[in-house]
Structures are given as C-alpha cells and as structure tokens.
C-alpha cells in the first residue's frame, strides 16, 4: 500500500529524515514512534505531498508522491498535529466544505457527512460552532473530515497530543472503531509508547530521522537486549523470579545447593529459557531465588511450574516499549522542545 525508499529531508543543516525505507501493508495500523523532533511529522508531510523530499521516493497505492501528487491526495486523508478545523464554522459546515473540495458526489454528500459524524460521536453537536468543542472533539471532527472522500490511507499525526488522559483513552476507542468500520490503512505518529502499543499492528522506532527498528509491538519487546552483558545479539525477553523454600534450615548450605543444581538443570533443558541465574544476595534467608529470562511467558510459565520443585512464590515482568526504545537508543534520545511559538500557541485545549 505504501512503499518508501530512502526518503530523506534536509532542512538547511538538519537531517530531519534520513534515508527512511518502509513497506506498509494494506489494512494495517502502522505506528511511527519517536521523541519530539525525531522527524515523524516531516515524514507524514512528505507522504501527504505537502513537502518535497530532498531525495528518495515513496508510493502510495501505486502513485508516486512527487510525480503524481494529485492522485496521491485523492487516496489519502490526514489529521494534522496542530488543529486545522475551522473554529468559526460548525462541525457540519467544516465537513460540508471539505466534501466540496474533495468532489464527493452531491447525492452521497449529506449521508456521508451524517455517517461520519456518528462514527466520531459528534452528531448531536454538529450544529455547534467548533470554538465550543473540546480538544478531543475537535480532533475527532478532523478525523471525520479526513475520511470524507473514503481515502485508502489515513495519516494521524499525534492524534492524542495535548489531550487529557480520559480523552486520550476515548480517542483510542474511536481509532479502533475506525479501523474496524472503515477498513483503511492507517499511519499514526506518536511519542507515547503506550499508545503505539495499544493501537498499532507494527511499529517503526524513529530517532534523529532514522528508523532504528520495525516490528510488531510483541516482537519489539522480545528484542530487548540484556543490558548487563554487552552482547548485542542476546535478548532477555520476559523476566521471571522463582522463590523456593529451603526445606530444612539446619543444613541450609547443603540443601540450598542441592535445590539449585537440580532446578537449574531442569530449567536449562527448556529451549525457551534463555538464561538462569541465582539471585546473589537474597534478602530472605529461608528462600532461594532464581531469576530466569524466557520467551513467551504466557505460554511457558505453566510448563515451568509443572517441572520444577514446589515454588513458594513467583514474580514476573514483561518489558515495555519504553525499555525497548531505551535499549535501541542506548539512552541517547534526541528530544526537542515541542514546536516553536506558533505551534505552542496552536495546541489543542489551550485558549
């Protein structure tokens, strides 16, 4: 659906987008995830034909973004990072004007507008002037506007930026509903890991204009590198802590080592167990603690518990995308303050 090859944009001296290559499939929700200033918006603007690439190419639905911008535009809808609905018009009027601009046939126009207003939950407020909308409502109106011509691809640039946590959650619901009902390809940018994790089928990590990893959220979390040893090819996966009770305290030394060797042997025989180690300084004297790193904790934990001695208690943790991102950038994240004067002025929900 979208093919991007070595897409590059240079502003004076800044490499805003640096040889980005991506294939985005039909019907998928693809997330561009990275800190402020990573180049997400610049990529979206280039794909939406609003900005000419310095070099490289991209195709959307078979149309080249540089050679055939008019065709590309017919195939895409976009919600900009900054508010772009007209606050002096009503929600309905905003959609109507855009239905003219996109040449929506007159017999379908009103039905399409009503259908979209219902989809984004604004039908009851359609005749209110947009100035009276909340930030979340405004953003939803812009989503409806972007869908007016039934585009094949939808760009959502930071769809929840500046929204309060409740509006953010409800925006996620609307986006998920949109995915189900409109069946279109979505490219979503965000700097919230949780958002990408919740909404996206695949995620491209971007930092300083470069894509540093592309995969499903699950795979990305598996790829987290063990920070303690410096090998780059070993990923620790999920972490489990097993607490074993020491049966007889009289000869704890002996018992401990017996339990340890036996269980470590068992655990190491599993393919999905990457690494087993004993917690060096166990706080609680009567317990022996083993730390293991495994693949696919949900599937494998029961197998582990069946095979080893009786376990007193368990703790486990799964890596978050934050950890993954941190690992990939080794903490060298190029974060920029959000926007210039105008952009800050134009934030949602700020009057």
């Amino acid at each position: 659906m979208i093919i991007i090859k070595n897409l590059t944009k240079k502003f004076d001296k800044i490499m805003a987008v640096d040889h980005v290559s991506l294939d985005i499939h039909k019907g998928e929700v693809f997330g561009l995830l990275g800190p402020n200033g990573a180049g997400k918006t610049t990529i979206v603007h280039m794909l939406a034909t609003l900005l000419k690439p310095t070099s490289g190419m991209a195709e959307i639905n078979g149309y080249n973004i540089v050679k055939d911008p008019a065709k590309v535009r017919k195939n895409i809808g976009i919600v900009f990072q900054a508010p772009s609905s007209d606050d002096m018009l009503t929600g309905f009027e905003n959609l109507k004007i855009h239905s003219y601009l996109y040449g929506v046939p007159s017999d379908l126009r009103i039905d399409r507008i009503k259908e979209l207003l219902k989809l984004v939950g604004l039908y009851e407020r359609k005749d209110d002037i947009v100035k009276k909308y909340s930030g979340g409502m405004r953003r939803r109106l812009e989503i409806a506007r972007g869908l007016i011509h039934k585009p094949k691809v939808m760009f959502l640039d930071e769809p929840t930026l500046g929204l309060d946590p409740n509006s953010r959650k409800s925006m996620w619901d609307y986006i998920q509903k949109l995915v189900k009902e409109e069946k279109i390809t979505i490219i979503l940018t965000t700097h919230y890991m949780e958002e990408a994790d919740t909404l996206c089928d695949r995620i491209g990590f971007i930092n300083k204009g470069k894509i540093i990893a592309i995969d499903t959220p699950e795979q990305l979390k598996r790829m987290i590198k063990n920070n303690s040893d410096n090998t780059t090819d070993k990923y620790i996966g999920d972490t489990i802590k097993l607490y074993f009770k020491v049966p007889d305290a009289r000869d704890s030394q002996l018992n401990n080592s017996h339990i340890l060797t036996k269980n470590i042997e068992i655990l190491k025989s599993f393919k999905f167990v990457k690494k087993v180690e004993q917690e060096k300084e166990s706080e609680i004297k009567k317990l022996v603690v083993l730390i293991l790193h495994v693949d696919n904790i949900n599937h494998n934990l029961p197998i582990i518990l069946k095979s080893v001695d009786k376990v007193e208690s368990i703790e486990f943790s799964q890596p978050t995308l934050d950890d993954v991102f941190y690992t990939f950038t080794q903490g060298k994240i190029a974060e920029e303050p959000e926007g210039g004067f105008m952009e800050r002025y134009a934030q949602y929900d700020k009057k």
């Binding site: 603007h45 609003l50 017919k74 976009i78 900009f80 772009s84 018009l89 009027e93 601009l101 040449g103």
Partner: protein, 252 residues
C-alpha cells in the same frame, strides 16, 4: 471543471461565513472610514477650499470608499500569513485541488468582504448629500469590484511570500499606506508637483479614485474608460503575481 467551481465556491463560502460571524470586525472596519469622512473631512474641509465647486467632505467620499477597499482587501490578503501558521489552510492545501483554485476562492472571499463595506458606505453617502443615479451606482459597484479583486490578489500574493508576522507590518507600511496616500483619495491630482503626480501614476488605486469621483461627483482627471483600462491591466498583473506566488507557496 464542475469540481473546480465547487471548490472555488467552497472556499468562498467559508470566507463569507467567517466574515459574517465576526461582527465586531465588520463594525470595526467601518469605523476607520467614518473617522476619516467625518473628522478629517469636516476638519480639513472647514479650512480648505478646493478649486472645484464641491465641499471637501463630499470630495473625499470616493476616496474613502477606495481607502476602505484598500485596507480591507490588502489586510484580508496579507492575513494569509496567519492562516498558514495555524489554520484551515493546510487542510485545504492537501485537498486534490490546484493552488489557482484556492487563490481564486480566497480572492473572491476578500472581494466580497470589501464589497459589503462598500455597500454600507454607499448608504452613508446619502447622509452627506451624495446624489446617486442608477448608472452611477452601477459604475461605483463595478469599479469597487475590480479594485477589491486587484488588491486582494496583491495582498494574498505578498502574504503568501512572507513567513513572519513582521511581514504583515511591512505590507502595511510599504504597501497599504502608499497605496492610500498616493491615490488622490484626499486631494485633487490637478495641481500636484511633478514628482508627486509622477508617483500617483503607478498607484492603481489612483484610477479607482478617479473613476469613482467621476461617477459620484462628475469630477475627474482621466476619462472613465482610461481608468477602467488601467484597472484591468493592473488586475491582470496582480492576479498573475498572486497565482504564481500561491503556486510557489510552501504548505508547511
């Protein structure tokens, strides 16, 4: 083609609705011409006698119509500097329509705003004793339409090339005021020193003021046809300039 007209209509409609909803702006924009007409018109009028037999307030009335058009149209056009920063415009530029379509829609929008003001001033003209005929009203409307189209196109062209708000100030200082002061809105062209007469020749508003004064008061320096010809030529130039600027305008 049909689509083009619909798109132009859509952009015009947006501008018109926004204009109607900003009532304070309408009132405010009428206030300045009234100040000129009644304060400057009466004040200077009381101590100035023109070589022609008409009172000063009536004499500047066509000039004040032109002034109102100059300010409204160029400001409207230059406002695009703002628009581009945080508005609707980006979403229009990503639609599958040409920049020329956007330009024409916007220009017609600005023209409409100016014309609404012209109509209000025409009514005020009745109170200071201007006598209209059907022909003169039609002529005034025609000339006003051309001048407002011409100047909105100029404002849009200049505004689309500017990137900062200082640009707006520059346009006011170096375009709006010279257009107004050189147009002969406040004085007759007949007894001017050569250098000043020379400068007025390059101001398209000069011909609008002259034509309007011709139709309202029967006083003129050039013939009505000559005024129209120069207005048409200027309109073609600013329209081409505006379209070219729009085509080159950066969207983000």
């Amino acid at each position: 083609m049909v689509n083009n007209f619909l798109s132009i209509y859509a952009i015009w409609l947006r501008e018109f609705k926004v204009y109607l909803r900003e009532r304070s702006r309408i009132i405010g924009s009428l206030f300045t011409p009234l100040l000129w007409l009644f304060i400057v018109g009466s004040g200077i009028g009381s101590s100035t006698t023109l070589s022609i037999d008409v009172n000063y307030q009536k004499f500047i009335f066509p000039g004040i119509i032109s002034m109102s058009i100059i300010f409204t149209s160029v400001f409207y056009g230059a406002y695009i500097i703002w628009d581009r920063k945080f508005d609707f415009l980006k979403s229009v530029m990503v639609a599958p329509i040409t920049r020329e379509t956007i330009f024409i829609g916007k220009t017609l929008g600005g023209m409409t705003n100016s014309m609404i003001q012209v109509f209000m001033l025409l009514i005020i003209g009745l109170f200071i004793g201007i006598e209209y005929s059907l022909i003169s009203v039609l002529q005034i409307i025609f000339v006003s339409i051309i001048l407002s189209f011409l100047l909105t196109a100029l404002g849009l062209g200049l505004g689309s090339r500017m990137h900062s708000l200082e640009g707006f100030q520059m346009i006011v200082t170096f375009v709006v005021f010279p257009l107004f002061f050189l147009s002969g809105a406040l004085y007759p062209l007949d007894n001017l020193p050569d250098w000043l007469l020379f400068l007025t020749i390059f101001d398209p508003a000069t011909y609008a003021v002259d034509a309007l004064r011709n139709s309202t008061l029967g006083i003129a320096t050039y013939s009505f046809e000559f005024d129209l010809l120069l207005l048409f030529c200027s309109t073609i130039i600013t329209t081409l300039f505006g379209m070219l600027s729009f085509r080159k305008m950066r969207a983000v």
